[in-house]
């Protein structure tokens, strides 16, 4: 399975990497439990910064698409295919849309929603 990264593309590099790994899982080009290259190997092969690949791997691990087993390395998660179908961004948008619609029907103005949203996001206790 070959990964192709366009370094001048509009999509961020780590997103390109994530999307292609998810695509490989969905199309069954890589099987659950299959070993993945180390961050260093992939970064060196693609001539990218280690941090870019690490970020993609971290987000994929958060989404349970891959899993890191200590010194043994990174592997495709056993439930990766099911977890790939779940779009976290879409889920966030749906939830926020619902909430904002609720606010608007209660008469809250756009600027009040923005101020409230910013205050909540800036709250370090969250």
């Amino acid at each position: 399975m070959e990964i192709v990264i366009d370094i001048e593309g509009a999509t961020p590099l780590f997103t390109q990497l994530m999307e292609q790994i998810k695509q490989a899982v969905l199309s069954e080009q890589i099987a659950p439990g299959a070993p993945l290259p180390s961050i260093r190997q992939l970064a060196n092969d693609l001539d990218l910064n280690n941090k870019t690949v690490a970020k993609a791997y971290r987000l994929l691990e958060r989404d349970s698409v891959i899993q890191t087993k200590g010194y043994r390395g990174t592997f495709v998660h056993p439930d990766a295919k099911a977890n790939c179908s779940f779009d976290l961004n879409e889920w966030v948008l749906t939830k926020l849309s619902k909430l904002i619609t609720e606010f608007k029907t209660s008469g809250v103005t756009d600027s009040e929603i923005r101020i409230g949203f910013t205050r909540v996001m800036n709250n370090k206790n969250l």
């Binding site: 399975m1 070959e2 990964i3 192709v4 990264i5 366009d6 370094i7 001048e8 593309g9 292609q20 790994i21 490989a24 080009q29 890589i30 070993p35 993945l36 290259p37 180390s38 260093r40 190997q41 992939l42 060196n44 092969d45 693609l46 001539d47 990218l48 390395g73």
Partner: protein
Amino acid sequence: MQDNILFYLVFLSQLILISYYLPSKVLARMRHVISRYPPSEYPKLYPQDVGCYKKSHRRFQLFNHFWLLIGVLIIAADAWWSHTYGGGVGKAFPVFFGMFQFMPMLWLELSEFGQFKLMRKSNTNTKRTAELSRRRLFDHVSPALVFSVVGLFFATIVLDLYWHDFTWGGDTLVRAVTLSLVNMLYMLIVRFNLHGKKLNPHQSYEDRSRQVETVSRTLAYLSIVISLFFIYTAAGDAYDLKAYEHVIFSAYFQLIALISIGNIIWGQPLESLNFDVYKADASAN
């Protein structure tokens, strides 16, 4: 006298092998690449003008011929000296001279790094590719070979200590440290080949894998030969096996040359390499 003749013959074979035969094979390979894969069709292979490569090939040939001539002159001078006054060159001379003989090859290797740097600089392709599979050492070399290397490393140190009553004498310590450093260097080289930066930006994944295999196998064989040589020298110290030492030293150096350079020439045939990636319209790296 017979010892001297045997030494001259073996040393002459070292001169011919390292400064004539192997370099001529390397040179023929490089010239074949230029004629079979010309710059007009494979421009990415030549970040510099083709004249520069031809010039460096001539320089490489001259450099090798120079050491060959010096070696022959040394044999002639030694023959005359030992005939007139007795004595001759030191026992370690073939190894010492062999290091100079390796200089043209070292120069060639170093200039290759410069070529890869130029290739990376002139690479305008915005697309980069990588294979989504992990490169592991045991996919490229057999575990048996790696365990032989490790086993021989420890066997060399234990045997050396055994023959010297388990005391770290001067030579024993030097051999143990040298062997450890050489093996550590080899491990670093293999590690760099497995996980390190892709020096040639156009190299295909299959070629990279083949390169890892050749390098790992070559270094494993070299480590085994060096361990065996150190066992011989340790035994030589313990049992006073000094006869034919010159000959053994030279044969050892020839074996090292055959394994290291020979594996590149015969272990990676040009036909097995993917040259399509160097074509002008090749979009993949």
